[in-house]
Amino acid sequence: MIGPVLRATQVTSHRVLRTAERLSRGARRAAFDLAPPESPTPRLQVWSRDKVRLFRYVTPEGVTRRDAPPLLIVMSLVTTSLVFDLQEHNSVVRRFLDEGYDVHLLDWGVPDAVDSANTLQTYCDEYLPRAVQATLRESGAEEVVLFGYCLGAVLAMLSLAGHERMPVRAMILLATPVDMSELGPLTSMLRDRRLTVDDLLDWSGNVPPERIKESFHLVEPAGEITTYLSLWNSLGDPERLQAHDALVRWSSGHIPFPGEAFRQMTELFIHQDSLVTGKVPLGRRIVDLADITVPVLSVTGAKDKLVPAASSAPLALPGADLERLELNAGHAGLIVGRKAHKEMIPAMLEWLRVRT
């Protein structure tokens, strides 16, 4: 009789202690900034233009660099590039470095009023080709591998299609938004002209981060609950808490979206569906996605709510050797977390190994 009572008391006291520990860790977290450091992998800035910076990551000691083209990571315009290098043990950059790749990251910076006039041409015709040139100069290589994430994949694709002579060996596109009607309520409202671009711009001429965050909340209205549950579970373990904080800091750290680029994307990608047709008017020319002739891997996440696999599905690159890979992951889960390191990244590395 006493045995079960003792066990129950033990279990209850253990739970009470765990809860007290979680609460105390939560209080400390709220009171002090316990966020992990940004970009734990050492890197050097090797090129810049306006707010755009190109970083080259330092190859870890003991790793022999592979005889392969350098990797140029191209970030989206919606958030910062922290996601590629969240923590030492949760870093896609570190993973590629450990495999011997020479990794470069193109960081667009945080736009302000000066950048509100940036258009798609600014990114695809001015910054990206120069960043490729700088990567080649820095690495001594003759070709690069483009690695685009989310809207960064669209920018990489347009830049390559618009510059046929750009020396690119292969391209990896992650969560590429192509059919914008699949992206959720904000794009639907813009498509139906219930909302105009001007309704979303602030005084600086950019779409403020709060509007972007709101539009993501509309995609998954009860999504915050998962974040709080994850926080509660992480409070029991300092390492998990750091991982949680790093991810939340990135996923909630939206940046202003350049207004002119947003206006242009609304017209071209939402109203004209030009990414679906594959012909995108940029400046005085029409960029044809059929001009991409390098091997392309398009990776989508079956659980991705922000850029659902259905949005990437119409991607057609008739001139390229296009391979599609759907993984059981969400938007960030493609490159962040235990599963990404166990399944997603190895799949990309294997594809890359064969092509380079």
Binding site: P129, S204, G205
Partner: protein
């Protein structure tokens, strides 16, 4: 990894059911119209409130927020022009052409 405790499973189950319902509601034409109207209204209200509040600050001989924003926009336009000129000079100096065109 251990399974989540029953209360978390319950919360997740509720969330799993609530999300598609809420999403369907958000996607409903009337709700979407309401959200869009809210966004436009916010924009219009801010613009409408700007004029009287500016007059009030001007009565106190102080600049209003919109005056400062206007100045910042002008400075940004100027900075943009300087930036373009600087880039043109740098590119000419370094004999850099548009790459890969």
């Amino acid at each position: 990894m251990s399974a989540p405790p029953p209360w978390q499973r319950a919360v997740l189950a509720v969330q799993g059911r609530a999300n598609p319902l809420l999403r369907r509601a958000v996607d409903h034409p009337d709700v979407a119209a309401g959200i869009a109207l809210g966004q436009s209204l916010r924009h219009d209200v801010l613009r409408a409130a700007e004029a009287p509040s500016r007059r009030l600050w001007h009565l106190l001989n102080l600049p209003a927020g919109s005056d400062i924003n206007r100045l910042l926009v002008q400075i940004a336009a100027l900075e943009r022009e300087v930036r373009e000129l600087r880039k043109r000079v740098e590119d000419t100096h370094d004999e850099i052409q548009e790459p890969y065109t």
